[in-house]
Amino acid sequence: MDLAYSDEYEAYRVEVRSFLEENKDRAPAVGEHRTRSAREWQQLLIERGYAACIVPRRYGGAGLQPDILRSRILAEEFACARVPAGDSGDDRIVPVLLELGTEEQRQFFVGPSVRGEISWCQGYSEPGSGSDLASLQTRAHVDGDDFVVNGSKIWTSGAKTAEWMFCLVRTEPDEPKHQGISYLLISMDSPGIEVRPLKQMTGDSQFNEVFFTDCRVPITSIVGKRGEGWFVANATLKHERGGLGDPDEAEKRFGYVLDLMKEETINGQRIIDIPSYRDRAMALQGRILSMKFNGMRCLSHDIKGEDPGLARWIVKLQGCELNHQVAGLAIDVMGELGVLYDDSPHLRDRGLWQHRFMMDLGLIIGGGTAQIQKNLIGERVLGLPKEPKFEQPI
């Protein structure tokens, strides 16, 4: 048990920090993408080994060995300096292409992805296939040198701006459902694609529906073999899973709620001095800290190349729930002020708590509902038996 970083890593932190001090003026604004300055910044980061770290140099990356602690220090220092971190192309697709793509695919896609010249969207979920993703019905048949794709996808964020989609389609309808799927790379400029934004409960539209009508995709656009798409996709899901329910995020948000409780008053009394709210805040802080330390434990296992097991599996389930509860506490301590929204006068914290309360509920549902997470924990970690196969559809 040693919470200090070794000299090597402390030196690395100093190096990153001084790089940021010298160069932060060249960084694009937060949220600025695809501009020339954003591309130049990304290029600088790759040269310095601060972005696309583990992408080989021949595909446009920095070509370094994986180092979890360096990645974390990078993330911490960039966040602290409020400078946009570099990216590795797209964590959902670049690792897949490097592992399972053809040499042509790697050459064609990885460089532009890491340089920020192209961006991706994901075509997995369908209106009829949510929890039961493998039942997906978007189909493709071969016609000449092309797959011809028909069907629709849902929950596709970024579909309006992305150049490419990585997509699961059913190419072998006669095979069992997991073995009939292929993994295609589809240009969003292809004729026969229509993108419709999907309005959500918050009032925004972060997601889209994507409709394919006789959309032609060259047969060379497949990753892996026909019918192997499910397994290719699981390689990417693995990469995505860590992303939701970041415990440091919950702690940061909780800090803002404490600030709110110290600043706001009801009947002349600071909210933090109202015992029932304070007790609720303390109970939540205990949960948040336990997940924060659970995250440190996972990280420590990762550094040693070990599987954190249960400690990792619970992160999404617990993390999203905690964020939702933090937002719920913020709303409750604000009382009537807590229901203000949009651009209302007297809005606190730009109305983000109501927004998060809904977004976090969306995250509890999305990326595998809480129910699916509990099935996975029960079966894969605790070793409980699966539900038996049933006789016939009901």
């Binding site: 409960m201 109202i274 029932s276 709303i331 409750d332 009537e336 099935n375």
Partner: protein
């Protein structure tokens, strides 16, 4: 001994439900919300035809002269339909305040107009429940100064009934000099609230509310009861939609409602919500029949429905999966209405303190 709705009450609730179904279905609610209205003339016209605004007002003032249970049944039905129809403030709280504290002239002037729905009154009592520094209204020589926050049903109102720092009510005309009304936007676009600021604004006090807190407390009680009933209806609507969706939506080749996890989510919602109906009935019935119990029961109804409503809103959304998160089914209108009801006129922690006060378990008074 019969703790059940009688045929007339059931018929009343059904007729309101039918009207809302035909004139205020979700598509219409969307239109009204999108237009940033919180009252639609045609819908309110029909509500007037059904004598909804006069439900509580005595017959001698042109109302229907029914009781709080009937009012709660209407509030429940409005919540079920997420109806953008003013009711809690103008048809329940304002008449309660006028009847308890108004002069005969004030009653004669206002109650018939409220009963017919010709005029509506907004009500502002927030500072008597949870005052923020810098807010509140003071009265001096028939003039009001200060700011009232979260005045209910304010944007469509013809006049305001505002509580001052001493707990007395004042009637303020909508076009009174020095009055400024500032819309507050909330998650719930089916209701309207505003900030009302006053600068030497002439106002007319309700004489019975001077030096007597009872009109204020009766008015707050009345409002809380309606919000509890509104949440009951809204949560019931979400539960019904979740159950219907669980029967229809299929995953893994079977209806998701056949999975124990989804089934139990529905059962838990039903088990939590169903007893709330009896709590709201009892609280509403007690106002006239067992007044010594009314405040306690109303506090419990408001606080408990806030918790159960939040649980149902979340769980019903989860049962819908991603679809619950979208705008497509409009489920969020109910979700947000329940969220609004939770905070207005006091959140659950605050109201549980009032419940303790109502039975002598807590001595201090708020404010």
């Amino acid at each position: 001994m019969e703790f059940l709705l009688d045929p007339a009450q059931l018929m009343l609730q059904q007729s309101v439900a039918r009207f809302l179904q035909s004139q205020c279905a979700l598509d219409r609610v969307r239109e009204i919300a999108d237009a940033e209205q919180t009252i639609a003339d045609d819908v309110y016209e029909s509500a007037r035809d059904l004598e909804i605004p006069g439900i509580l007002i005595p017959e001698k003032f042109g109302g229907v002269g029914l009781g709080f249970l009937e009012a709660a049944l209407i509030a429940e039905t409005l919540g079920y339909a997420v109806a953008p129809v003013p009711f809690t403030a103008t048809s329940v709280m304002a008449p309660t305040a006028l009847l308890a504290g108004g002069s005969d002239a004030q009653k004669t002037e206002w109650l018939p107009r409220l009963a017919s729905g010709e005029k509506t009154l907004a009500v502002g009592v927030t500072e008597q429940i949870a005052r923020r520094t810098g807010y509140g209204v003071t009265a001096l020589d028939g003039k009001l100064d200060g700011t009232a926050m979260f005045v209910l049903e304010a944007m469509e109102a013809d006049a305001y009934l505002l509580a001052d720092a001493a707990g007395a009510f004042h009637l303020v005309a909508g076009d009174a000099p020095g009055l400024d009304r500032n819309k507050l936007k909330t998650v719930d676009r089916t209701r309207s609230v505003a900030e009302v600021s006053l600068d030497s604004t002439p106002a007319e006090v309700l004489p019975g509310s001077v030096g007597n807190g009872e009109p204020l407390h009766a008015t707050i009680d009345a409002g809380r009861l309606m919000l509890a009933a509104d949440t009951l209806g809204a949560a019931q609507a979400m539960l019904n939609q979740a159950v219907a969706y669980a029967k229809e939506r299929r995953q893994f080749n079977r209806p998701i409602g056949s999975f124990q996890a989804v089934k139990h989510m529905c059962s838990e919602m039903a088990a939590e919500l169903e007893p709330c109906r009896s709590l709201v009935w009892y609280a509403a019935h007690s106002v006239a029949a067992i007044p010594s119990e009314a405040r306690l029961m109303i506090c419990h109804a408001k606080a408990h429905l806030a918790e159960v409503g939040q649980f149902v809103a979340r769980t019903a959304t989860e049962v819908h999966g991603g679809m619950g998160f979208t705008d497509l089914l409009g489920l969020h209108y109910w979700f947000k209405r329940i969220g609004f009801n939770r905070q207005m006129l006091g959140g659950p922690e605050l109201i549980r303190d009032d419940a303790a006060r109502a039975q002598g378990l807590l001595a201090d008074s708020p404010g």
